[in-house]
Amino acid sequence: MAQITLDNLAHSYLAKPVSNDDYALKPMNHTWADGEAYALLGPSGCGKSTLLNIISGLLQPSQGRILFGETDVTHAATAERNIAQVFQFPVVYDTMTVRENLAFPLKNRGADRAYVAERVATIAKMIGMEGELDRKARGLTADAKQKISLGRGMVREDVNALLFDEPLTVIDPQMKWELRTQLKSLHRQFGHTMIYVTHDQTEALTFADRVVVMHDGRVVQIGTPQELFERPEHTFVGYFIGSPGMNVIPARVEGRTAYIDGAEMALAHGYGALSGKVEIGVRPEYARLSDEGMPVKIRRVEDVGRHRIVRAEFFGHDINIIAGEGEEIPADRVRVSFDGAHVNVYADDWRVAPESAPGVAA
């Protein structure tokens, strides 16, 4: 296991990058702790796969260094990095049995037979394939093959890091729950450094200790699921995390008051003078239909089972409000109120830290 350091790392797919726009990965400095589980989360084209490929050694960065512990591995080949990888699509040897597939990374490194047998048994139990160890991989479903790939990725205990590139894309929702919780248990048991690339927020948030949110070649925030949910540092994080994402509404903010097209609402904190594009951000979970508050017009209500998503118009802006499963939705004179403690203020898309918090020094 190792700490991973990204030192002034950047990458361009062009031979002679000129402007910042030419970089698929813009210069970054980060240290990822030994034994933590990280998720790289972002839409396609955000640079997350580029970053993963640099960490795994499939790609040489245009600038900067990457360290595993104290060792500079920037120019080391993948095989020298001592990592295990699991990809989006199963990589399984069809002519081998499930057992041989799982044992392969260990046998390849000359591990002794008793140890191999013990590890294979442990992993087979984890992926729920104890009963199928002696059948050939050929003819198994995509699900089953991907479970073998995951198992093979985890069979070695001595790796520097485990890298996962969208490993659950081909897996059914119900099986996703099982495999994800198994990955988490495994992480708790063995404390591997894990890096998990995904565009699926639920996977990222539920899997990782820390989620690295990427947008347009940059890391916009690294945080725990709670931090990303409650204090998105950038409106992109607010939009990308949460389903639906955070409501972002243009406003004027003076001290402890936000003015939205004439209506005003009290904020939990005070703010200094702001410049640029000023907006408030409030998640649908922190907006409520109520008797008091600001007027809102309901456009549509979507029942998603455990709650309902109310699509509404608020001073000419589309907003979403979450209503509980049994909650009554008023027909007329509808108003919305926001939970002040969970309203964030943004200037030019970046969160502004409040000047004062009630009863707490800022």
Binding site: P173, R180, T181, K184, T202, F229, G242, R306
Partner: protein, 361 residues
């Protein structure tokens, strides 16, 4: 206009892909086929489209028997998980191509291409080639090609599965709107319960080649006819617990019981299966709720919610809790369940009493 399947089956060698199925889809409806991989969604769609001929049974379109009619002769459009566009043609020509084959006039083609492009938010991209577009735009182009045909039956086979989560979220909101404007019969296959709920319309749940239930989506969700349907239509999976009925009470173990009301009152004494959804399990004590001792296996936090995986007497339950709860692995937790949220199934899996809250809804 309606599509009617009468006892259709699909058999390949000794494998039955689709057991005898009856299904009637009406004009202007959105119909979701919900089930895990290999449950028969694609097989059923291929029978509907005429891509496969049923081993038995008949397919009717507007009352006319079209069993065995070639797909080319039927008004059918299909969109697959993999976006299929012609890479060498512009977006405009891609959308126009199905109409060019059927001899629509040039002006009419132009009008319909532009109208559909507008609906699919592709107007600024008409001159580009598909590979210059994002995945979401490519799939919208494939959708536009399906819509422009003016087919009476539009089949969408997991059309969003290869897209980014956020794009999926946006297209899920758009698709019902597009569908409402077209008036065709839409059939939409997915593995995800949440997608079915967001699409609305009707849902057919599939399991091992059988349609287990078909009806309005919220109805199937809240009143599943059996444990299999409930399992298919629940993400995270539904939790189950063996219970027994003794006289006027249902015994849940650990000294917990609930009054056997309504339909339950007349059931014979014996063993039953109780099922409840993860979002109905709470960790705060609640009046009238039953209490169970569990051990925390794994906790997953999404920011707005916490998924807690619990071991309860040899069963694994999932709780979907509001807010953030840092529950440690191995910790003992008491969880609470309102009997109004419990479905009761017979030992054969058939629903014997829906949850009281769902009856009221």
């Amino acid at each position: 206009m309606a599509l009617k399947l009468e006892g259709v089956t699909k058999v390949s060698g000794a494998d039955v892909h689709i057991h005898p199925t009856d299904l009637t889809l009406e004009k202007g409806t959105m119909n979701v086929l919900l089930g895990p991989t290999l449950s028969g969604k694609t097989s059923l769609m291929r029978l509907m489209a005429g891509l496969d001929v049923p081993a038995r049974g008949r397919v009717f379109w507007n009352g006319e028997d079209v069993t065995g009619m070639r797909v080319q002769d039927r008004g059918v459009a299909m969109v697959y998980q993999q976006f299929i566009n012609y890479p060498s043609m512009s977006v405009y020509d891609n959308i126009a191509s199905p109409m060019r084959l059927t001899g629509v006039s040039k002006d009419e083609i132009d009008r319909r291409v532009r109208e559909t492009a507008e609906l699919m938010k592709l107007t600024p991209m008409l001159d580009r080639r598909p590979l210059e577009l994002s995945g979401g735009q490519q799939q919208r182009c494939a959708l536009a090609r399906a819509l422009v045909k003016d087919a009476g039956l539009v089949l969408l086979d997991e059309p969003l599965a290869n897209l980014d989560y956020k794009l999926r979220e946006e297209l899920r909101v758009e698709i019902p709107r597009i569908f409402a404007a077209s008036g065709a019969i839409f059939v939409y296959a997915t593995t995800e319960p949440e997608e079915a709920l967001l699409l609305g319309g009707n849902t057919a749940t599939l399991w091992e080649g059988r349609v287990t239930q078909f009806g309005p989506t919220p109805e199937v969700y809240r009143r599943p006819v059996d444990a299999t349907t409930a399992r298919v239509f629940s993400d995270p999976p539904m939790n189950f617990l063996q219970v027994s009925k003794t006289g006027a009470r249902l015994m849940f173990g650990e000294g917990q019981s609930a009054e056997a009301r309504g339909r339950l009152a007349s059931l014979p004494d014996g063993r039953y299966l109780a099922g409840f959804r993860p979002n109905h399990l709470g960790i705060a004590s609640k009046a009238g709720a039953m209490r169970f001792r569990t051990v925390v296996a794994v906790t997953e936090i999404t920011g707005s919610e916490t998924f807690v995986h619990l071991d309860h007497a040899g069963e694994r339950w999932v709780g979907q809790l509001h807010g953030i709860h840092a529950l440690e692995h191995g910790a003992q937790v008491e969880v609470f369940l309102d009997p109004a949220h419990v479905y009761i199934f017979g030992e054969d899996g058939a629903l014997v009493a829906p949850a009281a809250y769902a009856e009221a809804a």
